[in-house]
Symmetry: C2
Subunit: 354 residues, 2 copies
C-alpha cells in the first residue's frame, strides 16, 4: 500500500486522483489544496484524506504536483527542505518541462528522491475539483520526461497514451504546436484592433476563419503568460522563424507567382491532412455524421434508435454554412458506442452514415 500525495486538486489533480483510485483502490490518496477544495475532494471521495503539506510530503511514496508552473517551482524548493522518504518519486503536470526538470535535478541530485516531469496533454473549458472526470485523460497523450514503470503503473487507470520525451524536446514540440499558436491568435486580434481604428468594419465582418484562428486568444491570460516565461527562447525562435516563413509567401505574392502560391496552399492542405490532429475534434469524442432528409421527426427517429447510448452532443445542420460536416452530427464518449450506433442506424434506416 502506497501513500500518494496530490498537491493541487483542480481539474487535473482531482481527475488524476480518480484514475489512481480506480486502478489502485488500496493506495491511500492524500490531497493538499485550499481547505474548501480539500473538503469537497474528500466529501466526493476524490481523496482519502486532506493533509498538511509538510506532513503529507514526508509520508508520501509518490508526490504529484498539479499546480501552475510557478507554483510547481516554488513547491519543489520547499519540498526539497523536508525530511523525505528514501525512494520518493515526484512528478508534475506543468505545460513546460525544461525549467521544472532542471530545477528538480539541481534540488534532488545526490539524494534518494527521484523527479520525473509529466504533462498530461488535455484541455477543458471546465476547471476545478467539481469538474473532476475519470475519463479526462482517456486516449490523450501524457508526456513523461523519462521512462518510469512506477508512474505508468500508478496512472494506468487514466487510459492515457504515455510517451517518453526529453524535457527540452517537449518544450520545442509544444512551443511549436501550442505556445506559439497562442501568440499568433492574440497577435491577429491585436492587429485587427489596430487596423479597425481606420477600418472599423474589421470588427464586424470577421467570419468563420477569423473566429477559428482567434478562439484561443480567449484562453487563460495568467496561465499562458507563465507558459511563455517558462519557454522563452523556443517561443522567440518560433516567432523569428515564422517571420521568415511569412517573407517567403510575401515574396511569392509580390512576384504574382500563381503557381507558387497555389503550391503553398495545396501542399499546406496535404501536410495538415497527414497530421495526427486531423483525426478528430477532442481526444475522447467520437463523431457520427448522418445525412438525413429534411423531414419533420427525423432527428427524433434517430435519437429514439440511440436512446441507450451516452451522447454528449447533437448538432443539426440545416444550412450550407461552412464548418459543419454533415447534416446530423452525434458525438459519443466512447469509440465502441460510435461503432455500435453506426450499425444500428445503418440497419434501421437508409440514411448515409459517415
Amino acid at each position: 500500500m502506497k501513500k500518494i500525495l496530490i498537491i493541487g486538486l483542480g481539474l487535473i489533480g482531482s481527475s488524476i486522483a480518480l484514475g489512481i483510485k480506480k486502478a489502485h483502490p488500496e493506495f491511500e490518496i492524500l490531497g493538499s489544496d485550499r481547505e474548501e477544495v480539500e473538503n469537497i475532494a474528500q466529501k466526493r471521495g476524490i481523496i482519502d484524506s486532506k493533509v498538511e503539506l509538510v506532513k503529507g510530503a514526508q509520508e508520501a511514496d509518490i508526490i504529484i504536483l498539479a499546480v501552475p508552473i510557478s507554483a510547481t517551482l516554488e513547491l519543489l524548493k520547499q519540498i526539497a527542505t523536508f525530511d523525505l522518504k528514501d525512494g520518493l518519486l515526484i512528478t508534475d503536470a506543468g505545460s513546460t518541462k525544461s525549467e521544472i526538470v532542471k530545477l528538480a535535478n539541481q534540488l534532488f541530485s545526490g539524494t534518494k528522491v527521484k523527479f520525473i516531469g509529466g504533462h498530461p496533454m488535455v484541455g477543458s473549458h471546465k476547471s476545478g475539483v467539481m469538474a473532476a472526470d475519470i475519463n479526462l485523460f482517456e486516449n490523450a497523450y501524457y508526456v513523461l520526461t523519462e521512462e518510469s514503470q512506477e508512474l505508468r503503473e500508478l496512472l494506468k487507470g487514466l487510459h492515457a497514451k504515455f510517451i517518453i520525451l526529453d524535457a527540452k524536446e517537449h518544450d520545442k514540440v509544444t512551443g511549436q504546436v501550442s505556445h506559439f499558436p497562442h501568440i499568433l491568435a492574440s497577435t491577429l486580434v491585436w492587429q485587427s484592433d489596430d487596423y479597425a481604428k481606420e477600418h472599423p468594419l474589421v470588427k464586424h465582418l470577421a467570419a468563420g476563419g477569423f473566429r477559428d484562428l482567434t478562439r484561443i486568444a480567449e484562453a487563460d491570460s495568467l496561465m499562458w503568460t507563465s507558459v511563455l516565461l517558462s519557454n522563452p527562447e523556443i517561443t522567440i525562435d518560433r516567432i523569428e522563424n515564422f517571420k521568415k516563413q511569412l517573407d517567403g509567401i510575401a515574396q511569392k505574392i509580390a512576384n504574382r507567382d500563381s503557381q507558387a502560391i497555389e503550391h503553398f496552399f495545396e501542399e499546406g492542405k496535404k501536410i495538415r491532412q497527414a497530421m495526427e490532429i486531423h483525426k478528430g475534434a477532442l481526444p475522447n469524442f467520437y463523431d457520427l455524421f448522418i445525412s438525413v432528409p429534411d423531414e419533420k421527426g427525423v432527428v427524433l427517429r434517430v435519437l429514439a434508435l440511440l436512446q441507450d447510448f451516452s451522447i454528449t452532443n447533437i448538432k443539426i445542420n440545416e444550412e450550407n454554412r461552412e464548418d459543419i460536416h454533415g447534416q446530423l452530427q452525434i458525438s459519443f464518449k466512447r469509440a465502441e458506442d460510435l461503432q455500435e450506433a453506426c450499425e444500428i442506424i445503418e440497419k434501421a434506416t437508409d440514411f448515409t452514415v459517415v
Copy 2:
C-alpha cells in the same frame, strides 16, 4: 417583368436564383453554366431557362456574375463587346472588389451599363448547384460597392444584411479578417512541417488550438490563390504589419516582462469579446438551457415537445454525479422560437428553464 441572367450556377449563383424567384416570381431567370449544370438547375426549378451567353446577356435587364474572380474579369471584357440593353445593371459575387470594379469602370464608363460590385459573405463546405439553398444568405453580410435600390429590391428574398462599402475599403477589411488569416493558417502548417523534420512529434502532439488555427489551411487552393493575386498589396501590407506586431510580443518575452505579456493576452481577449464575431458560431443563435434529470428518455421527451421547431444544435452536458441535474442546451434560429419553446417546456414539464 425583368430578365435576370445568372452566369455561374454553383452554390452562390443558384442560391441567389432561388432567393430572387421567391421574392419575384414574375421575373424570368436565365442561367448560363456548363450544360449539365444548366440542366440540373432547370430541372430543379432554380432557373427558368438556360441560355447562351451572348443571347442571355443581350436580353438581360440585370446580369449576376457568380464565378471565380479571374472568370469574372474575363466575362466582363467579353460582355462589354456585346450589344447590351440600355440601363443594364451588372453585379458580381467575387471575394475581392477593387480589381473587378476598376475593370468594370474602364469598360462601361460612358455607356448606359452600370456595374455595382457585390460580395455575399458566406462560405460553405458544400459547393455546386446541388447545394443550392435559399437560406444560405440569411442574416449574412452582403457587401455592395455602391448603394442600389434596384439590387436591394432584387435580392430581398435572400434576407441578407446589405452594407455599402467602397471597393478598396472592402479589400482592406477582408484582407485583414479573411485573406491574411488564410496565409497565417497555411504558414503555421508549413512551419510545423519544417520543424517536424527535426522534431517529429510535432506531427502528433498538436491539439485543439493548433487544429483551430489551421482549419482553413484546407480551404480551396485555387480560390485563395486567385483572391491573393487580386488583393496583393493589402495582403503584403498585412504580412509586413504582422511581422512588426510579432516583434512587439517577442520583445516583451525577451524582457521577461510578465506584466506586458499578461496585458497582451488579457487585452486580446477583451478585444475579441467586443467583436461582432463573438456573438456566436452562426449569425443568429438563440439558446435555451433546460435542467433535466439524468434519466433515460429525457432528451427524447423534450425533443418530442419541440418537434415543430427548427433546432440547429442540441448539447447535452453530462456531469459525473448522478444526483446532479444535467443541462440540456437547445439552439434555435429565431428568437420567437426560443420564447415559444420556453413556454411549452415550462407548461409540459417541471424542468427548470433558463
